[in-house]
Amino acid sequence: MEEELARLREAALAEIAACGTEAELEAVRVRYLGRKGSLTEAVRGLGRVPPAERPALGALVNQAKEAVEAAVAVAGERLAAARLAESLAHDRIDVTLPGRRRPRGHAHPLRLVEDEIVDVFVGMGFQVAEGPEVEDDYHNFAALNFGADHPARDAQDTLFLADGPDLLLRTHTSPVQIRYMRATQPPLRVVVPGTVYRRDDLDPTHSPMFQQVEGFMVDERVSFADLKGVLVHFLRRLFGAETGVRFRPSFFPFTEPSAEVDIACVRCAAAGAADPACRVCRGRQWLEILGAGMIHPNVLRAVGYDPETVQGFAFGLGTDRIAILRYGIEDLRLFYENDLRFLAQFPS
């Protein structure tokens, strides 16, 4: 029995040492230590040994088994290390192959810019309101203090609908001023993004449909100085903290006093010097960016407010124009033709 044990042990160790792969090692392990392995059988055989010899023989069997197990473990580590070394030495992938991508989507530039504009005003406590695009003469013109024969009411400029003499596609977002103020008492701060229409063909500088953002604020003491504060803050958030802003007198039927607001040319400012041939400002150094003013007393009366007790300002700007400046776009049609090669250049 002892000799037999020694022979098994020697044979096992020799076979283990000879193993070249982990599969071979596993086969050897099963042959000696598996359920029906020789050493396992030997342990079972202890039962047939006289009790007096059992402790000594048992110790020998265990020694043999442990020795073989240890050898398997050592060989296993050796073989795993060899396999890893082999893998590290030879396995190679081409990391320059293209990645496997799903197509990337894109937001429309007009929506990106609209969100940006609205977010600045929401940050200043403005509520967002919207209104219908099919409007009537009252909300689009009359209530906004357009005279009965104001040129803007002309069929040259406005798209009318066949459904009624009075129906039109709103030419600005200002009708929402009327709708909102009629339904709400001051104080209020409101910003209105929306689609508006004019009777123009689509060309590099005109579109029958474009986007505006309207804003207004009404309280007991909101003044022109406040209007300047809000708009300067807004424009600097949008175009940079150093952006030059100026206010010029202008004329709109629904505001008095009225102002046109310019920003210093973004391209000239980026270049650090005025360029007389600048294609953005055409050498003027300033860019018209929005119209504004104190809400006309006739408008306040039209919504049922008393101009002696409340006052406020309103402004309107063209989202398309801001997007044009923002992205250096020179052709308005790009926004509405939706060429994917154009859209794909915007972030997701």
Binding site: F126, E133, R248, A344
Partner: protein, 804 residues
């Protein structure tokens, strides 16, 4: 509006560069669009006196001119120009001179005769249009003087924008008033008067106003003995530079006065006016008039006309008639100066499409006080330039004239402070109002302000507040953030939903589009979409083209069109969406603008790695996108039912679905009807969907309800069935779910197979069912019991070959 600075300088003196002046006017509300230097001629273009003009010895059509150019010895120049005569002063470009078009002059020989330069036409000097003859200069021009040094040749033209409320600034005088007020310098306002001789004008002309609402003031002057000829150079230059074409000295003189003082005038040939009568009245229906542009116009009773003893001779304030036009033979003039009502002129100008300089000014209101003054200026100028003798007196109706009552406006200094947000001393307010020419007196702490007659736009207190602010410059008003209670701003629910949907769809690889709301009637009829399916189309009454003839019922109208455009441009893949409106009228006659989410898929996916191109898009791609969007809004995975659509106008009847949630249709998805695809020049299959935005917005605003994360393992069992091709795969899923056993966690179809050994016309579907209990590990036995129940239910309901 174009203002030559030399002209402006006659009325006001400013101490600033043209650029600084432009800036000042811009900040006063008159944005300067351009500053144009004109007449900056090369100093080697000189005044020459023709000493002698002799025929060229060898060339029949040429002359040899001997010139005095102020340099002692005469200079010889060869010219082919006609009408040259000794004694004339003409411009000569000497060798070395550069003409405005860039040509440089050289000494050249013409058929053997050396020419030291070239005699120039006004066209060559860019001083006029006439290229047929040499420009003849005034007799007092000193030979040898560079042309650029002659007064009126070199100038700078200010091009500025005048807002529609400021008709008073459509003149040199008006702009001068603004410069004076903004700079704090005095205005010069000369009022020339003609020398009057002969019989009083009233003997030749009678004026009758039958429409005082349209013409509250009419003045006429008679000028006799005029010689109608071309205007002198200075006048032609001024008109051209102000943007008008010179005609003849009479017309040019009236235009000069209009450009200078803002009051349009009209000159009639008095001898061609029947009976010497002027009647201002409404036109009779169907009356005809041939206007100066040679067009015969049928008049409308809303039109205001000037008539003589026979009939209409002018469209009041818009254009004169051909029949009484001033011509070369005209000897006696009737000069008209009037105030025509802005609204009436505007209506007729719009109706007839005539956009004259006169109409432009009358539409914006002229200054009633200027009416007789302009007449005097014109008569004086014509007297000076055309030899005319003004008949004594202005014939005026109503007699004694008419000046509108300018409203006295109360201006409270506290109102100025309240609106502008800055306190302004009373003295400063008064100073600014007076600088505008307004009368201003104090009354009980306020001012009572009467605007000057040319400022018809000043009607109420706010208008005066603007003037006070404007004169100080808006830059002087502080920039201040409003003081208000701190409240949170809020984006609208619609926009928040749209932003959320946008993120979800972009994550699915789609590009957002914004398409025009217009479409043509045929497309709109074919493509009702989902949210607009029950709406009648809205037509545009005055579209620019039939392509914009109607408002679309579905955003798909724009998306499909954009798809066709992109395919035509070579796109292999179009994946796009729009969150937009449909427009129409519902069954109750109410206009609706329902919002929709629409998407389109077409072509093959872009390659996703090493492959030439990705798989062709199909219904499953579209459905997957919609399912992800719904899940992204928080909808339960199995909440939406996709039902075959059957007959549907704009979708393929066999390849489209209605999407239902809790029994309500929320949208449709499928293959665009081949007929529509064809009509849009789309050869490929186009997958589209449209969902009701408002319903999606509802899902999006629901609260999230969390389920506990499972703590015990799941057991899965698979089943496979062979069914007819037409059998809907979801039927089995729904049947199993309807058992509502809490231990059935999920059922999923994982294989759909056609082909051997499955018989033709059949398909094999394989499902995997996950069983799990929330509170324990399920035993094999328990799973077996539940699974057997599932099988039994399926066998009960369906007669198919079930292999568990």
């Amino acid at each position: 509006m174009r203002v030559p600075l030399s002209w402006l300088a006659e009325f006001v003196t400013w101490s600033a560069s043209p650029q600084a002046l432009a800036e000042r006017l811009t900040l006063a509300g008159f944005p300067v669009e351009g500053l144009e230097d004109v007449g900056r001629l090369d100093a080697r273009i000189r005044v020459a006196r023709l000493i002698a003009v002799e025929p060229h010895p060898h060339a029949e059509r040429l002359s040899v001119c001997r010139l005095d150019v102020g340099e002692g010895a005469p200079t010889a120049v060869v010219s082919g120009a006609p009408e040259l005569a000794a004694g004339q002063r003409v411009p000569v470009a000497l060798a070395g001179a550069r003409l405005p078009d860039g040509r440089e002059m050289r000494t050249t020989a013409f058929a053997g005769v050396e020419s030291a330069g070239m005699l120039c036409s006004e066209a060559e000097l860019e001083l006029g249009d006439d290229a047929s003859r040499v420009l003849v200069l005034p007799d007092d021009a000193e030979p040898g003087t560079p042309l650029v040094d002659i007064a009126g040749i070199a100038d700078t033209v200010l091009e500025l924008e005048v807002t529609s409320n400021r008709g008073d600034c459509l003149s040199v005088l008006g702009i001068a008033r603004e410069v004076a007020a903004a700079s704090g310098v005095p205005l010069r306002h000369p009022r020339p008067r003609p020398r009057e001789t002969g019989a009083p004008a009233a003997e030749d002309v009678r004026v009758r106003i039958e429409a005082p609402d349209g013409c509250p003031r009419y003045c006429a002057r008679v000028v006799r003995g005029v010689t109608v000829q071309p205007s002198p150079l200075w006048l032609r230059l001024r008109l051209r530079r102000a943007g008008m074409r010179p005609v003849n000295v009479v017309v040019d003189a009236t235009n000069h006065v209009m450009l200078e003082r803002g009051q349009p005038l009209h000159a009639f040939d008095l001898e061609r006016l029947a009976e010497g009568v002027i009647v201002v009245r409404r036109a009779a229906s169907g009356e005809r008039l041939v206007t100066l542009d040679g067009t015969e116009r049928t008049l409308d009773p809303a039109d205001l006309v000037i008539a003589d003893g026979r009939g209409p001779v002018a469209l009041a304030g818009i254009m004169g008639g051909e029949q009484s036009e001033v011509t070369a033979g005209t000897r006696v003039l009737l000069l008209e100066s009037a105030f025509f009502a802005p609204a009436i002129v505007r209506r007729t100008a719009r109706r007839t499409g005539i956009g004259s300089e006169a109409a432009y000014r009358f539409e914006r209101r002229v200054d009633p006080a200027m009416v007789p003054e302009a007449l005097d200026c014109a008569a004086a100028l014509i007297g000076r330039l055309a030899g005319g003798r003004a008949a004594p007196g202005i014939v005026e109706e109503p007699a004694g004239g008419w000046t509108p009552e300018m409203p006295a406006i109360r201006l409270r200094p506290r109102r100025v402070a309240a609106l502008l947000g800055v306190d302004m001393p009373r003295g400063e307010i008064r100073r600014r109002l007076r600088a505008l020419g307004a009368e201003c007196r104090s009354d009980a702490g306020a001012f009572v302000v009467t605007p000057p007659s040319h400022r018809g736009d000043l009607e109420r207190e706010e208008d005066l507040v603007e003037e006070v602010a404007r004169l100080g410059g808006y830059d002087a008003i502080p920039v201040r953030l409003p003081e208000m209670p701190l409240t949170s701003g809020e984006d609208s629910r619609t926009r928040l939903t749209a932003r959320r949907l946008r993120r979800l769809l972009i994550a699915e690889g789609l590009a957002e589009m914004v398409t025009l709301a217009f479409t043509d009637a045929a497309t709109n009829g074919r493509l009702p979409g989902f949210v607009g399916r029950a709406l009648a189309p809205l037509a545009v009454r005055n579209p620019l083209s039939s392509e914009t003839g109607e408002l679309r019922r579905s955003p798909l109208a724009g998306l499909v069109r954009a798809t066709a455009t992109n395919v035509a441009l070579g796109a292999d893949f179009v994946g796009a969406f729009e969150i937009g409106k449909g427009y129409g009228v519902d069954a109750q006659g109410v206009r609706q603008e329902p919002r929709a989410l629409a998407a389109v898929l077409c072509g093959a996916w872009p390659s996703r790695g090493v492959e030439r191109i990705g798989p062709t898009v199909d219904f499953a791609d579209l459905k997957g996108i919609v399912e992800n969007v719904l899940a992204g809004l928080g909808l339960q995975e199995d909440a939406a039912r996709w039902r075959p659509i059957g007959e549907e106008a704009f979708l393929h009847p066999g390849k489209a679905a209605v999407i239902e949630v809790a029994g309500t249709a929320i949208g449709v998805a499928g293959s665009l009807h081949p007929k529509i695809a064809q009509a849009c020049d789309l050869a490929e299959e186009v997958w589209v969907c449209e969902l009701d935005f408002e319903i999606l917005a509802d899902y999006g605003s629901r609260r999230v309800e969390l389920r506990p994360v499972p703590r015990f393992p799941a057991v899965t069992r698979d089943i496979a069935v062979i069914v007819d091709e037409a059998f809907p795969a979801a039927a089995i899923l729904e049947e199993i779910r309807s058992l509502a056993d809490a231990r059935i966690e999920a059922v999923r179809l994982f294989d759909c197979y056609r082909g051997a050994p499955v018989p033709t016309g059949k398909k094999s579907l394989a499902y995997s069912i996950a069983y799990r209990a929330a509170d324990r590990t399920l035993t094999d036995d328990e799973v077996g019991v539940v699974h057997a129940g599932v099988l039994e239910r399926l066998r009960e309901r369906f007669s198919f070959d079930l292999r568990a």
